[in-house]
Symmetry: C2
Subunit: 440 residues, 2 copies
């Protein structure tokens, strides 16, 4: 297990009572970061930390701390977290510790901090940082095998999968924060038996349940990040829905990979749970004995002992009809990031082994986090077996892929026997009908 | 032919004599934009326009023009051109016209502008803008067919090629301006007969001769750009070397496309030749009669009549030994952007048909621009037939792929019977040895 500091102590209690509830995503042990402002105002976005049902306005808290914590606090007043992310793990940790101490029952900072609180109910969020480059990985072997069997029945899992943490570059311009709505994309579709493709609105629109990873401190071009150094470069984690158009993908993706099938929208949850807050949920990275061992640059004792992360993940769906009838979103599947075939440390080390430079705010998607069981599919493509099997919803509706008006919600949290719950909040976004010019 | 304005008049002469030489890349009809400062200073980068062997310092020229030209001029004082690019074709055109008039022999602005000149010899350049997203296309059917036959002998040109302007997302963090040096990448390599891959320095390092395209005005998420509207969104063009590690690529690229094989370095020329300056070189977009006609969203009379661009392209190599002996770079191949199977208008329309949003400063690579003849290959992979045939250099050296110390230079220009030469300058960059930690 990693060395933990006092911020992880399960006995800590906060002077904000909502933070002490067992079901709360944002107890004093969490302290995730976002960029927020009061809803329906023209206020500047600034950094905030979630605690209970409140946000600490970090711009308003200016001057409260000293030393490295003050350096971090000052950077968090900016409209993006990029500068704060660039300052490195020592500053992130110092600010987190100062906040933890100031939020504990009987803290002397209570009076001052009370003036910096904004209820989460009254807030809206922006992207927490400017994402320079977005890389999507493909780290669930269960997802890769199931999807591969649909795209390439004879050859589902390619020979490089167990050696290379497969990834590719995605589009950053269309990433937005929870609450995003987007039009159903149109694109070239071609049925296997059709003579030619045609332009049509997507018929096989899907979500992908992913964990998002934000890079903090970057590396210079030409200077790889070693596997055991990656904790110095990973700022934190969020939930990530990488919307996908399966029919566009099938026709366009060879030989250079997915393009228009993926770049029309991708949605992140507003809160970044820090790498430090997740240390207690690090766990053993396991490989089947029959599988090859990773190459040396992807292997270390630390990575084996604590490379994996136990994050429970869930996808829910609320259809337009359910919304009209005030029915809550219904669960589609559950999974866990611990099933990932590659660790985050391996993703960072692999991404930079060729000298590629990462910048503060760069973003990784983990790839769809499907579990080993069929019902743990992290996409509708898997749950509907490529569209062959209808998914029955409790209100009588059915789905094989998403319909207009569907809202997809993803949630995640970490929890162990000590009862502390480190939650991610949620990412929610909604499919709008295709552009009026779209062909049908 | 497109409607031309007075800036294209071949009879225009400039009061800077170097601009009137027949071999000059930057005559008064060109007026390309860059971000520059005086070499070896801590000056701020600011916009400049090349004229002859000089640069007009656009920050220094503040106040010289009025109306839309003044709006453009003011934006060009910033350390990136993103704001200027966002202002749209009317502003770009107004500033170009004002500069053209002020640079003509006997212009009243001569005295004032003379104070704004910086010799190109004394300048250094930065990236002209912040590149949000970089997309690499694959528009030379000759390159696609030759490379496809090396990676997939049985299946060189995939069935989607003649329907879809194939592209994928690349990495923006490692794009730098001419003069870039970078370490030979290391990565997972696997010989076809090897049991397992190993980490090694790249043995098949290659360049790719591309045209770069900068997006000016963007589009909102969900709002496609129609084919005949794309001129309102394309700011200009440069030369682009998309460095590639062929051995890393062969092992990693399936199923999601190239990743570490491409993202360790990419180099642009400093000057952006505007879309407007290239209008006289627009020409007919041709398809073989036997090839399918593009789908409706990729077809228009305008695109057929003037979609292609006649840009002559050249790649040269200067080895370390040649440099030591003061020998100039030697030509490896010549090609032309007119061979592209898809037009820039088609790239923009296709990229946005699904609603994907482009932002000012976003960048497209055209893909390697190889011509129909074997000696017109735009990469060493093609010229050496996959490493099977040695390329003989005039000084007795040989190459199949690039060696440490090799400098690759790319040049390009447009010229027709009127004698006007619209040049791109050059992009030059140099391979350094692999990281000291690299395995061999």
């Amino acid at each position: 297990m990693p060395v933990l500091n006092e911020t992880h102590n399960p006995d800590l209690r906060c002077w904000i009572s909502s933070a002490n509830r067992a079901t709360c995503d944002f107890p004093i042990q969490n302290l995730p970061f976002a960029e927020f402002r009061r809803k329906n105002t023209a206020e500047a976005f600034r950094g905030g930390v979630a605690i209970g049902d409140q946000i600490i306005d970090l711009a308003a808290a200016k001057g409260l701390f000293s030393g490295e914590a003050a350096v971090g606090l000052s950077a968090c007043a900016e409209p993006t977290l990029n500068h704060f992310m660039s300052l490195g793990a020592s500053v992130w940790s110092a600010l987190r510790l100062a906040l933890s101490r100031a939020l504990r029952e009987a803290a002397t900072e209570q009076k001052a901090l009370e003036k910096c609180l904004v209820p989460q109910d009254e807030a809206e969020y922006s992207l927490p940082c400017q994402i320079g480059d977005y890389t999507d990985f493909y780290t669930s072997i269960f997802h890769a095998t199931r999807v591969g069997s649909l795209f390439r029945p004879d050859n589902p899992l390619l020979p490089n999968y167990k050696w290379v943490p497969i990834g590719y570059h995605g589009r950053s311009s269309s990433i937005d924060v929870s609450g995003q709505t987007f039009r159903r994309p149109q694109g070239q579709l071609k049925a296997p038996d059709a003579e030619a493709p045609s332009l049509n609105s997507c018929k096989r629109l899907d979500y992908e349940l992913e964990v998002g990873i934000y890079i903090g401190k970057g590396n210079a071009l030409g200077e790889p990040i070693a596997l055991d150094e990656t904790d110095q470069h990973v700022f934190g984690y969020c939930l990530f829905n990488d919307w996908s158009a399966r029919d566009i993908q099938a026709w366009e993706y060879q030989p250079l990979g997915p393009f228009l099938a993926k770049n029309f929208a991708s949605t992140v949850s507003p809160w970044i749970v820090t790498n430090e807050a997740l240390l207690p949920y690090r766990t053993e990275f396991k490989r089947d004995a029959a599988d090859p061992q990773p190459l040396a640059y992807l292997a270390s004792a630390k990575n084996t002992q604590q490379g994996a992360l136990d994050i429970k993940l869930e996808v829910l769906l609320q259809t337009q009809q359910m919304r009209a009838q005030n029915q809550a979103a219904t669960a589609l599947s559950e999974s866990n990031f611990v099933y990932s075939y590659w660790t985050v440390a391996q993703m960072v080390a692999h991404h930079t082994v060729n000298g590629c430079n990462l910048r503060p705010g760069d973003f990784f998607g983990s790839g769809t986090q499907s579990g080993p069981d069929e019902e743990q599919g992290g996409s509708m493509l898997e749950l509907s077996q490529g569209g062959k099997k209808s998914i029955q919803l409790p209100n009588g509706e059915q789905r094989t892929f998403l319909e207009d008006g569907d809202t997809v919600v993803m949630r995640g949290y970490c929890q162990q026997s000590d009862g502390v719950r480190i939650g991610f909040g949620e990412v929610s976004s909604t499919v709008l009908p295709a552009h009026e010019s779209a062909h049908d």
